[in-house]
């Protein structure tokens, strides 16, 4: 059913919080995602021309790198380099779901995860047009649309230890820049993180109301007072040192 499920305020909204202040751009999440899903619910994630001239394939998570300029162009030092993982945001208003003519795309009522039922997908690609974020990936072998499942076959998987029931990208992130939880619950750890760190939506103007949030890069400023340099006293370095050491010893 591509009509969105009726969801009460406070209903469970599983999603990710991605900390752009901590992400070092190592692609660990992207490759782990590829690996998990290549054998998971949406298997396979094909690779086209894997050893040839145009290596390409289906990835549910892609890592961009941006440079921001602190002001004028060329202002290298004032700017920042930001690594930016991009994947499905499991929006509250996912037009990718509502445009689907067959009901293949759907948003789960119980946790808000947006999924594709590949058996119903006719491969019209309209959902990928409807997603502003580029979260939909077409499998050109099976000719159906695929996407991030939030590792639905991990997070509820009773055959793996409970502490590891998080999406593969979260489990593997070496910099702990990815957090998973219920963003519908204002008391959850992820909601608090969003609250305290000023988590934001991507393209809020689109009105899709993404569930996933991004935490902005921070920059701690130097607060140290200038170093009190001793005036260059007359005399040799040895004399200066002796004077310093005498004072130090007399303390």
């Amino acid at each position: 059913m591509t009509s969105l499920p009726a969801r009460e305020p406070g209903a469970k909204k599983l999603g990710l919080v991605i900390d752009l202040d901590t992400c070092v751009g190592c692609h660990a999440c992207a490759v782990s995602c590829k690996q998990w899903n290549d054998g998971g619910h949406s298997a396979p994630l094909p690779d086209y021309d894997p050893y040839g001239a145009r290596p390409d394939g289906v990835w549910f998570n892609r890592i961009h790198t941006y440079e921001t300029s602190g002001g004028a162009a060329g202002d290298g030092a004032a700017g920042r380099t930001v690594h930016f993982p991009r994947s499905c945001l499991h929006c509250d208003e996912p037009a990718c779901v509502t445009v689907c003519p067959t009901g293949a795309s759907y948003k789960r009522a119980e946790d808000g995860i947006v999924l594709v039922n590949a058996d119903l997908c006719i491969g019209c690609k309209l959902c990928s047009w409807a997603c502003p974020y580029g979260a939909r990936e077409f499998d050109e072998d099976e000719r159906v649309m695929k996407k991030c499942t939030l590792c639905i076959d991990r997070i509820y998987n009773e055959t793996i230890p409970e502490s590891e029931r998080v999406p593969a990208c979260v489990a593997t992130c070496p910099a702990h820049a990815r957090h998973f939880g219920d963003l519908g619950d204002p008391t959850s750890a992820v909601s608090k993180l969003v609250q305290s760190r000023g988590g934001f939506d991507l393209m809020p103007e689109m009105g899709y109301r993404p569930v996933n949030k991004y935490l902005p890069p921070r920059r701690n400023a130097c607060t140290a007072a200038p170093l009190a340099e001793r005036p260059a006293l007359p005399g040799s370095v040895a004399e200066r040192l002796l004077s310093w050491l005498d004072r130090a010893l007399s303390l």
């Binding site: 692609h27 660990a28 290549d38 790198t65 489990a171 701690n220 370095v237 040895a238």
Partner: protein
């Protein structure tokens, strides 16, 4: 519409095994899930001390490495000309008989004619032992072209080093300084650590020409010019000393800052420590105003002021010499700013910030006892932590740069204290180290008395003959590079071809891609491998045995290729005797176990080496009756003893309850496997800091076999071994450098750190070659030979040359332009990409993306060879010849290949350029290998 049925609880696979990752040098613990006999999923092992459950992109791509079509299938024998890539598959019996024949003949006649060099080998304890037993001094791994500056400077200064040998105190530091490019070694622990700093809001400052990777998340980025880190650090020291910021108590207690240095201008003892009759260095005790052995428990050394000793000689504390060096006006911020590309105010501000952080000590309420027996109620620490990566090391001034950084740490009292940089077990080691390299005794049919690699303490330990001529094929431990602790892999092929100092018969390479990205000037290196002696028609290097798991560029140049397994098909050990995985809280080691059986006719290299050792009758690999001592590497791991009770693995020795020292335990590997393939020993809290002077630690480390004796370790602010070499350069002593090298030895063997311009820049000239050119390892690929990996190469299949916007504007270059990168020794062409976060006098690219067409089973038109390029083509192996003497373009102290010294100019390429240059003829795949046409996917 019925909603979808999702199998929420499908088991990941049917079998899960633990082992250790080998997609880079990080050595993370992994769990490998198998499904119907195939790899299904690799994840971090949550219990493992290195990675605690996380895994990087390379580790997750291990599946694609394992199933790479570039895996070699069987031993290969060359049937055409070298380099033509014509091989036939042979059986192992034939291959081993052939290798055994060549090697046996060498051992019977002149073992030095075997040059055995390994690349990113993690079994150097075995390979080094094998070389020693064979009797050749010509052994080393890839450290000489990678990181030996960092290692040597560390070992001769603090008895430890950065990289995976130490770690910041992530829990307590308040300021973190990260030096150098390349997101390399210890990658997951650093990422985990950085996230801890971020959680606590600790300021991270990156001093790095390029703002990518870890630098991207730094609170402040200082984009200095490559090769000027030493200058920058010395300027920081200058400012701190000028402001009288130094932990004098720390310096007096734990370093040799108070040791008296003889002043004997032009005399044979000038610059050496004053010593008592027992040979103990002396300090001037300020309470008694008299000399006292530095080791005296009550010694309170004066740190300045010249003194006159009983024998009339004059001496000054080392600290004063350091202060005189660093307070020199050459190191004021104003004097260094232009060269470094950093404004004086920024250097001042950083010095102030360091001083401020150091001024607020961290106090752990943890009582401990020092080596004098003094009890301390708390552990006070200077919360300034540092970490350095390859960037500061890969220069001809890298040794002194790394030394300068350790001295900055010493001045702050920020070594192995709460909040500072900490040693990982088994470090610290006694410093300065002293284990003369073995090999002077090389003779037919005999093992060497000592391991080929060592740590010289002075001229007498060098591998040179009476005339000062090198005794090793790579010239390591010669006057060209006295502290070449890791050998000099980058000079081996050129020296062997030039018979300098003598010709060799067989070059035996393991995992070292010398025909491509592991060599400067790969085209020239490849040519040398095919060079023949016109008189005999024989190759200059008559035999080349190459061991690799994959079809790398070097395969084409081998006479005999011995195919290795992948890391998931063999036993391995990550040993405390080699490159350990311990943490600051205790030692650890690990194993790999085979999770899959090879489906090809391949064997683990270590098994092959042990087999060859037995065939050749090498003592350590043969029983008294001549039979093989070990059935294979797994057997060796368990039963080999380096010293009585000490073997490759420290865990579960003896009856399974001993650790560190103990008899071999036949069930040791089973215990490791039960424990997730690793062993980790937690030190008691009282033993975790001040390890150089912490009695509990030193005694525990001795009991574990990490140290021979629980003696205190004094940090070496002043490096006396260097002065010994310098004195030889000045003509003192009996082992003297050849006259042509004396000036060089005197200049660079300074017991105190100093900065000199990178040698390449001195010879190339800033006018003609104004830009530094460096490489970085891409985080998702570094050390993982990633171009063959179907997933990783989707991330990076070609590379650009990155340049600062303002520099591009001044050269009239635009994003995407094809450009020529020209150095004094070569040219490479690729595409330009403009960025903001790079030092304006620096260009850089990702390392080793460019591949030779056809290699690694990539299509000949793969982007890696079509557009990708290798910067190595513009990096010279040697400096220009001077007085008909060829010196390596390396650090003159350690021989470290000065990759990042290279300077270039950039020109817009011809408009018609569409492919990168230089281009070599495509390699032909070995028999049996083909590019799979099918799309991958499970």
């Amino acid at each position: 519409m019925p909603s979808e049925t999702i199998a929420l609880s499908s088991p990941i696979g049917d079998t899960v095994k633990t082992t250790t990752c080998y997609m880079c040098a990080c050595r993370c613990g992994i769990r490998v899930h198998l499904k119907e006999g195939r790899l299904r999923y690799i994840e971090g092992n949550p219990d493992h001390p290195i990675n605690r459950g996380v895994l990087c992109g390379k580790g997750s791509a291990g599946i694609m490495q394992h199933y790479s079509p570039a895996r070699l299938r069987a031993p290969l024998l060359r049937v055409g000309e070298r380099g033509a890539g014509e091989f036939k598959e042979i059986g192992w019996d034939e291959a081993l008989a052939l290798a055994g024949g060549w090697l046996g003949e060498i051992r019977r006649t002149d073992p030095r004619k075997l040059a055995f060099f390994t690349g990113r080998d993690q079994s150097q304890a075995l390979t080094g032992l094998w070389a020693k037993e064979f009797g050749t001094p010509n052994f080393a791994a890839h450290g000489g072209f990678c990181s030996v500056n960092m290692a040597a400077a560390g070992l001769y200064s603090v008895g430890g080093s950065f990289w995976e040998f130490g770690e910041p105190d992530w829990e307590h530091t308040k300021l973190f300084l990260l030096f150098g490019v390349a997101e390399d070694h210890d990658s997951n622990p650093i990422k985990i650590g950085l996230s801890k700093l971020k959680e606590r809001g600790v300021r991270i400052i990156s001093i790095n020409p390029v703002r990518t990777g870890y630098s991207a998340i730094a609170d402040e980025w200082i984009g200095l010019r490559p090769g000027t880190d030493g200058l920058f650090i010395l300027s920081l020291i200058h400012l701190l000393l000028a402001a009288e910021v130094a932990d004098l108590a720390f310096l007096a207690r734990y370093t040799n800052a108070g040791w008296l240095v003889l002043r004997d201008p032009a005399g044979p003892s000038d610059g050496l420590f004053a010593r008592d009759e027992a040979g103990q260095p002396l300090v001037w005790d300020h309470r008694t105003d008299a000399p006292l052995a530095a080791s005296h428990p009550e010694a309170a050394p004066r740190l300045a002021g010249e003194v006159r000793l009983a024998d009339g000689s004059r001496a000054v504390p080392a600290f004063q010499l350091l202060a005189e060096r660093c307070l020199d006006p050459a190191y004021t911020p104003e004097a260094v700013a232009e060269r470094c590309g950093v404004a004086p105010e920024r250097i001042r501000r950083l010095a102030a910030e360091i001083a401020a952080a150091a001024a607020e000590p961290v106090l752990l309420a943890e009582p401990w006892t020092d080596t004098t027996g003094r009890r301390h109620a708390t552990m006070p620490g200077r919360p300034v932590a540092m970490h350095a990566m390859r960037g500061i090391s890969a220069h001809s001034n890298g040794f002194h740069t790394c030394r300068a950084l350790h001295i900055l740490q010493m001045l702050l009292g920020a070594i192995d204290t709460p909040g500072s940089w900490r040693y990982k077990a088994p470090y610290p080691r006694p410093t300065p180290p002293h284990a003369p390299p073995g090999g002077k005794d090389a003779r037919p049919g005999h093992a060497l008395a000592a391991m080929p690699l060592g740590t010289p303490a002075g001229p007498a330990d060098l591998m040179v003959d009476e005339s000062g001529t090198p005794l090793r094929i790579d010239h390591a431990f010669s006057w060209e590079a006295p502290l070449a602790l890791h050998g000099m892999l980058h000079t081996v092929i050129a020296n062997a071809v030039a018979a300098d100092p003598y010709p060799i018969d067989t070059l035996f390479l393991y995992m070292a891609n010398m025909a491509w990205n592991s060599s400067p000037e790969p085209a020239e290196t490849s040519r040398l491998l095919t060079e023949k002696n016109p008189a005999t028609g024989e190759y200059r290097i008559p035999h080349l045995i190459y061991v690799d798991a994959f079809f790398s560029e070097t395969v084409a140049y081998a006479d005999l290729v011995l195919p290795d397994t992948t890391y998931l098909e063999r036993f391995d050990c990550i040993s405390l005797l080699d490159r350990p995985i311990g943490s600051a809280d205790g030692p650890a080691d690990a194993i790999r176990q085979p999770v899959l059986a090879p489906d090809r006719d391949v064997r683990p290299f270590q098994d092959v080496l042990i087999d060859l050792g037995a065939r050749l009758g090498l003592p350590a690999f043969t029983r008294d009756d001549g039979s093989p001592a070990f059935t294979g590497y797994a057997d060796y791991i368990v039963h080999h003893q380096r010293k009585p009770g000490i073997g490759p693995l420290a865990g579960w020795r003896g009856d399974g309850t001993d650790c560190g020292r103990g008899a071999p335990n036949p069930h040791q590997l089973e215990r490791y496997i039960e424990n997730g393939c690793f062993w980790h020993h937690e030190l008691p809290p009282a033993a975790r800091y001040f390890k150089y002077a912490n009695r509990d630690y030193l005694e525990a480390a001795t009991a574990l076999g990490l140290l021979d004796r629980p003696d205190p370790i004094t940090l070496q602010l002043y490096a006396e071994p260097l002065q010994r070499f310098r004195l030889a350069g000045l003509g003192h002593g009996t082992v003297l450098p050849p006259p042509a090298l004396r000036e060089r030895v005197v200049r660079f063997h300074d017991p105190l750190p100093f900065w000199h311009p990178p040698l390449e820049q001195e010879v190339a000239g800033a006018e003609e070659f104004p830009l530094s050119a460096i490489t970085q390892r891409p985080m998702p690929m570094y050390h993982s030979w990633g171009s063959q990996n179907a997933w990783l190469r989707q991330i990076l299949a070609d590379n650009y040359l990155y340049m600062a916007r303002e520099t591009a504007a001044s050269l009239g270059l635009a994003d995407g332009d094809w450009v020529n990168v020209i150095s004094r020794s070569g040219r490479v062409s690729g595409r330009l990409r403009i960025m903001e976060g790079v030092n304006p006098k620096t260009v850089w690219t990702w390392n080793a993306i460019g591949k030779r067409a056809g290699a690694w089973m990539l299509a000949p038109d793969a982007p890696e060879s079509r557009q990708g390029f290798l910067l190595n083509h513009v990096i010279a192996t040697f400096l220009p010849e001077n007085q008909s003497r060829r010196l390596p373009s390396s650090d003159p102290v350690t021989g470290q290949a000065a990759w990042f010294d290279v300077v270039v100019r950039i020109e817009k390429a011809a408009a018609a350029m569409r492919e990168s240059e230089p281009r070599a003829a495509p390699l032909r795949p070995p028999p049996g290998l083909s590019i799979p046409a099918r799309r991958l996917g499970a």
